[in-house]
């Protein structure tokens, strides 16, 4: 009989009972929808926020449909809810899109390691996102934005690209960021549109154009694989060291807690050891993505 | 058999029955019968039939157009070859092939679908319940043996 640890008796496979507080479309083509979930039970709420760190993800769970991982798009200070933006890509997300306020949903998390916020204290944050993967970066920005956290970090540069203005997420909030003096915000869309006042072009090109200084800075890149692939060399050209570049990986996963085995790259499990990795860490891993 | 046998009816959407019959099938089918409309009997995969059986159906009836009147020319005949042999295979492993019936129907056959279903139901009652093929039922923890 082996020694067993009994830190808590909860079953990590049991979804936390949640319900939908608010659901609203994020994009004009209705492919992106944001859900804010609140907890059925106060103790689950407390446990969640005790553990939560921006950059983490949750498994959303619908009995009969299964589970899928989604990055958390809200900061703890925003209230006792958890925000996700779900892109409609398959049958599971299609189903989630049909849910409305009041509907029941299950959630497991927070899972994985978030951004190493402690290590970043005192530094400038260059936040680079594209598409719906920007959601966790939104959570990060919201977190840093809070008056209590803001003094911990130096300048904040946000570069956010979407395919078109209609696909830009969190529009009203991001619009308000422009008023903020210690914020540098760059939005971009892929092709020109009438009335668009910001950058036009792909994210790597915008990064090149903005050319953030690597001095006392870390860069955080989250986006579709192709965007990440072309952004990393731009950052290296700008003299960001691999230890100061961070990204978040995605892979097929099931359990979310490092047991079911499928999301590994070499000996690292994305769900448990990630999803956030520094470029320096990634360079140590085999090409198994 | 205490309760009425559960019957799944696969109906080709092109071989509509006469209007009152179709009305009956769509609105008044007894609750022990379950209607599945398909674009052509040729579209019915044997997996559909097996699914119905494993889902608890006591009998499966497939209603298709007459051999030379298929909307897609010969979907019904190609279906027949497969469904016939599938029924033979099920029979081979102990599941009576009489529980799967193929009927050829035409628009003119007024009242025939009711008669066919009633006759089929009577035959299934006659056969009694079958234990010979597992249905999908909640599992106790299995796998702890080989």
């Amino acid at each position: 009989m082996p020694e067993h640890h009994h830190h808590h008796h909860d079953n990590p496979y049991d979804p936390i009972p949640m319900h939908i507080l608010r659901a609203y479309y994020e994009s004009t083509d209705r492919s992106l929808k944001t859900f804010e979930l609140s907890f059925d039970k106060q103790k689950d709420c407390e446990a969640f926020f005790k553990a939560y760190n921006p950059g983490q993800f949750c498994q959303l769970s619908i009995f009969g449909k299964g589970e899928a991982p989604f990055g958390i798009a809200s900061a703890a200070w925003e209230g006792e809810f958890v925000r996700f933006t779900v892109q409609k890509v398959g049958s599971f997300t299609e189903y989630i899109h049909t849910l409305k306020a009041g509907d029941a949903i299950g959630m497991r998390g927070p899972l994985g390691n978030g951004f190493p916020l402690e290590d970043w204290k005192g530094k400038k944050l260059v936040i680079i996102g594209g598409g719906c993967a920007f959601s966790t970066l939104y959570a990060l920005t919201k977190h840093v934005q809070h008056p209590q956290n803001r003094p911990d970090y130096d300048q904040l540069v946000v570069i956010y690209g979407a395919r078109s203005s209609g696909l830009c997420m969190y529009k009203h909030d991001i619009q308000s960021w422009y008023q903020n003096e210690d914020f540098e915000i760059h939005q971009a869309i892929d092709v020109p549109e009438e009335g668009w006042l910001h950058h036009v072009g792909y994210v790597p090109d915008v990064v090149k154009e903005v050319a953030p200084s690597p001095d006392n800075a870390v860069a955080i890149v989250c986006g579709p694989p192709i965007m990440t692939k072309y952004t990393l060399p731009v950052l290296e050209e700008l003299n960001f060291a691999p230890e100061t570049i961070f990204t978040s990986l995605e892979k097929r996963m099931k359990c979310g807690i490092g047991k079911c085995g499928r999301c590994n790259i070499g000996s690292k499990y994305i769900c448990k050891d990630g999803p956030v990795f520094s470029l320096a860490e990634l360079q140590e891993l085999p090409d198994d993505i | 058999m205490e309760a009425k046998p559960k019957i799944v009816l696969f109906q080709c959407q092109w071989c509509l029955y006469s209007e009152p019959d179709q009305q009956w099938v769509e609105n008044d089918l007894p609750s022990s019968m379950h209607l599945v409309k398909v674009p052509c009997t040729g579209r019915i995969n044997t997996l559909h039939v097996l699914n119905a059986i494993q889902g608890g159906a006591d009998g499966v009836m497939i209603s298709g157009c007459l051999p030379e009147k298929c909307h897609f020319k010969e979907g019904n005949l190609s279906a027949m070859r497969q469904q016939d042999e599938f029924a033979n295979l099920l029979d081979y492993v102990g599941y009576e092939k009489e529980r799967i019936r193929f009927v050829w129907l035409d628009l003119q056959d007024l009242g025939r679908i009711q008669k066919e279903l009633a006759a089929f139901e009577a035959d299934i009652v006659e056969l009694g319940p079958t234990q010979n093929l597992a249905t999908r039922t909640p599992q106790t923890i299995r796998g702890e043996h080989a």
């Binding site: 082996p2 079911c260 085995g261 499928r262 090409d287 | -």
Partner: protein
Amino acid sequence: MTYILDKKQLEKVLKKWSADYEVYAPQKAKQFSAFLPLGSSDLALDEPHNTRYPPKSLFLPQTEVMLRYNGRLNRLEDVKLEIKPRILFGIHPCDAQAAALLDTVFATEENSDPYWSNRRKETLLIGLGCDEPPQTCFCTTVGGGPFNTKGLDALLTEMEDAYFVEVLSDEAEKLFADLPKASKEQQKQIKEVQDSAAAKMAPAFETEGLKEKLDANFDSEFWAEISESCLGCGVCTFLCPTCFCFDIVDEVQRSERVRNWDTCMFRIYSLEASGHNPRPSRKERTRQRLSHKYSYWLDHAGEIGCTGCGRCVRYCPVGLDIRAMLRAANALEMEPANA
């Protein structure tokens, strides 16, 4: 403490334990022996090798109902996890070692797997050493041995008319305390039997530096060569006592969330919704299987994730032999990674 269990007393002892435990032991089934609840069939303790189906299934069943739910409410219903205490009698040391290895995956400090852990903490492993190890076995190569005690609560060594029982845990002590104790002389005999069994097993391959070879040759054509005949079935991994990968699916008609053994040898294991597959061919999948056992396990637990039980060798439908594959890996050059 070492006790003597007379073979003639065995059935009686097992029956006595049955009052307080569910006792499982290898028994003869129609085709081959398997771990079954005591009384299912005749005991099969005399077979030269392991049960074909690994006893990991007693901790991690191939199919397990994790949760039951009410689909309409989208809410959980309770599934009882507690089990009656168990004894696995006659488990071979390689399988016991595998259970201990898998504790590092499932019985973790954080996010401990309750299904695994509940069964493990309620189960005593009474091992039976192998005095005639078959040629497909290679436990001594990977740090085990035919009389290795890792993971066991007691180890039996078969002698002429009796089993000599080395008790290794307090719980097991209670099971055997009534039996006569072995003398010094008898204990020496046990040692001789055990040593001679281990001596019969020649090292199958070199493990020193193997991890480095595998890591360095991640992109090598070697993987395509050794996997060319691989069928891509799940025999090696499903029968493996240390393979633990699983899939989680909702069985809709049953309102159950179920986990099933899964395997890196299947194409769909790593296939993503986008259609992208990081391991598109048997080459990448074979690499994952071998690297996991002989490299990643070392990073995770400091040990090789293979106990040399020989099942993958015995039952591979195309005769692929992991020992030959690893010897071939050892013969590779140390090239820079990601070359």
